[in-house]
Amino acid sequence: MNRSKKGFWIFIFPALFAFTVVQVIPTLMGIGYSFTDWNGIGTTKNFVGLKNYITTLTDDALFRQAFVFTFLFSICAVISVNVIGFALALLVTQKIKGANLLRGIFFMPNLIGGILLGFTWQFIFVQVFEAVGETFNISWLQGWLTDQKTGFIGLLILVTWQLSGYMMMIYIAQIQNIPDSVLEAAKIDGATGWKRLKSIIFPLMMPAFTIGLFLSISNSFKLFDQNLSLTGGGPVNSTQMLALNIYNTAFGENRFGLAQSKAVIFMIVVMAISIIQLTVTKKREVEA
C-alpha cells in the first residue's frame, strides 16, 4: 500500500489539533500557572515560586479537611460499590425469572447525571426521611444533610446507588466468561458455595476487579456534580470534597494560581493511586 507521510498527518490532524488545544496546552499552562499569583480576572501573573504549594500543604485547613473527607469517602465508596455490584452480578446471573429486568433496574441510575441525582437524593433525605421520621418518631431519620456525618453517609448512599449497577455490568461480563467446564470440575471435586466462590470464581474475576476498582476509585475521588448538588459542600464546608475545594478556591475566592497548585497535587495523587492499584491488581490476574 502506498502510504504517504502526508496522508498520515492529514488524517490525524483534526483529532490532534482539538486534543492539543483542549488538553495538552492547558495541562502544561496549568502546571505553569500553579507557580503564579494569577487571580483569574487580571492579565498579570507574577511568578511566586513554590509559594502556592507551600500554602496549600501547610496553611490550608479546608484543603486538608477536603483531602481527608475525599480519602475516607473514596475508601468507603469503593468497598460498598464493588461489594454490592458484585453481589448484584451474582444474583442476576443465577437462572431466575426476571433476571434481565432486574439487571436493567439496577443499572438504570447510572445513566442519570450527577446533578439530577444529587437533587433527587436531596429530596429523599431532606423531605422523605424527615417526614417519615416525624410520623413514626424515628430520630435517626431526621436532620439529614445538616451535619458532616449524615452528609457523608448521604453522599455514600447516592454514589452506591449510582455506581453499583455499573460495576454489576462489568462483573456480569466477566462471570459469563468463566467456562462452565471449570465450574463443573469444581463441583465434582466437591467445591460448593463459599469455597467455590473463594477459590474458583474470585481468582478468575481478577481482571474485572482491576477494572471495577480503577473506575470506582477514580469516580469517587473526582466526584464533583453529586457533591455540589446534594450538599453543596455544606454545612460550613464540612462535606466539601477535593474537586469542589479546587472549584471554590478559583471561582469563590478568585485565587486561580492557588487553585491550580491544588489541581496539580490532585492530579499527581489521582495518577499515583491509579497506577499503584493497576499494578497491584494486575499481578493477581490468572488465566482460566
Binding site: G7, I12, L16, V22, I25, I115
Partner: protein, 274 residues
C-alpha cells in the same frame, strides 16, 4: 435435592424483588410527589396524589425553559458525538495502519491523557478559550471533541487492530485514494464499534455539568443540567415544581436507555476494559 433448589430460587427471586424496589423507590417517590400540590407534600409525603393534575409539570416546563434547553442539549450532544466519531476513527485508523515511531508515541499520548483530571485543565482552558472568543456553543463542541477523542481513539484503535488490511490494500491497488478507502471500505466495517463509542460519548456529554457551566452559562444557551441547577437555586423549597422538573429531565434519558439498551450495555463493558 430438587425441592431445595426450588426453595433457593424462590429466596433469590424475593431478594431480587426487594432490591429492585429499593433501587426504584427514590424515583417512584419523586414521581408520586410531582403530581401533588406543595401542601399535599407537606401533609403526607408518602400518600398518593388526591387528584390527578399535570399542573406542576406545566409550570416546571415553562419556568425552566424546558424545550429550549432540551434542544440545546440535543444539538450539543449530537454534533459533538458525530464529530468525535469522525475525527477519532480517522485518527485511530492511521495510528493502527502506520507502524511508525510517531504513530506509537501519539497513541501513547492520547491514551495517557485519560488519567488527567478535568480540574487540572479547566482554568487554563477557559483562559485560552475566552482569548480565542470561543466561549459559546461551537467552542463547547470543539472542547468536547478535544476531551472525547482520547477515549474514542483508544476504543477504535483496539477494534481496527483486529480488522485485516487486505481489503484496504485491494482498494488502493484499484486506484482509491486514502479518503475513498477510508469512507467506502473502512467506515462500513466500523459500524458495531461506532454505536458503542457513540453511546459512551452521548451519556457523558448529555449529563456533563461543569464544562458547560464554565463556557455557556448565558440565558438561552444553557443545557438541561445547567437549567436544572439554576432552577433549584430559585425554587429550592418548592418541591412540587422541583420534583416535576426532575422527572421531566429524566424522561429523555429513559427513552434513550430503552431504545439503545443493547449498545449501552456493550459500551459500558467495552469502555471499561480500556
Amino acid at each position: 435435592m430438587k425441592k431445595r433448589s426450588y426453595m433457593k430460587k424462590g429466596i433469590l427471586i424475593v431478594i431480587g424483588i426487594v432490591l429492585a424496589l429499593i433501587f426504584v423507590a427514590p424515583v417512584l417517590l419523586l414521581i408520586n410527589s410531582s403530581f401533588k400540590s406543595l401542601q399535599e407534600i407537606y401533609i403526607d409525603i408518602l400518600a398518593l396524589p388526591q387528584k390527578f393534575t399535570l399542573n406542576n409539570y406545566i409550570q416546571a416546563f415553562e419556568q425552566m425553559d424546558f424545550l429550549p434547553s432540551l434542544v440545546n442539549s440535543l444539538l450539543i450532544t449530537v454534533l459533538s458525538t458525530v464529530l468525535i466519531l469522525l475525527v477519532s476513527s480517522m485518527a485511530a485508523w492511521v495510528l493502527v495502519r502506520y507502524k511508525t515511531r510517531s504513530s506509537k508515541v501519539l497513541f501513547l499520548v492520547f491514551s495517557s491523557a485519560l488519567l488527567i483530571p478535568f480540574q487540572c485543565v479547566m482554568l487554563p482552558l477557559v483562559d485560552v478559550m475566552s482569548k480565542l472568543n470561543l466561549m459559546n456553543r461551537p467552542g463547547l463542541i470543539f472542547m468536547y471533541v478535544g476531551f472525547g477523542c482520547s477515549m474514542s481513539i483508544v476504543l477504535f484503535h483496539g477494534f481496527i487492530k483486529n480488522i485485516p488490511a487486505e481489503l484496504e490494500e485491494a482498494a488502493t491497488i484499484d486506484g482509491c485514494n486514502m479518503f475513498q478507502t477510508f469512507f467506502t471500505i473502512v467506515i462500513p466495517l466500523l459500524k458495531g464499534i461506532m454505536a458503542t463509542v457513540a453511546v459512551i460519548n452521548v451519556m457523558w456529554i448529555w449529563n456533563d455539568f461543569l464544562l458547560p457551566s464554565l463556557v455557556i452559562n448565558k440565558n438561552g444557551m444553557q443545557t438541561l443540567p445547567l437549567r436544572t441547577y439554576l432552577f433549584f437555586g430559585q425554587y429550592s423549597k418548592k418541591w412540587d415544581l422541583a420534583t416535576a422538573a426532575l422527572v421531566l429531565c429524566m424522561i429523555p434519558i429513559i427513552i434513550f436507555y430503552l431504545s439503545c439498551q443493547k449498545y449501552i450495555v456493550k459500551g459500558i463493558t467495552a469502555g471499561a476494559g480500556k
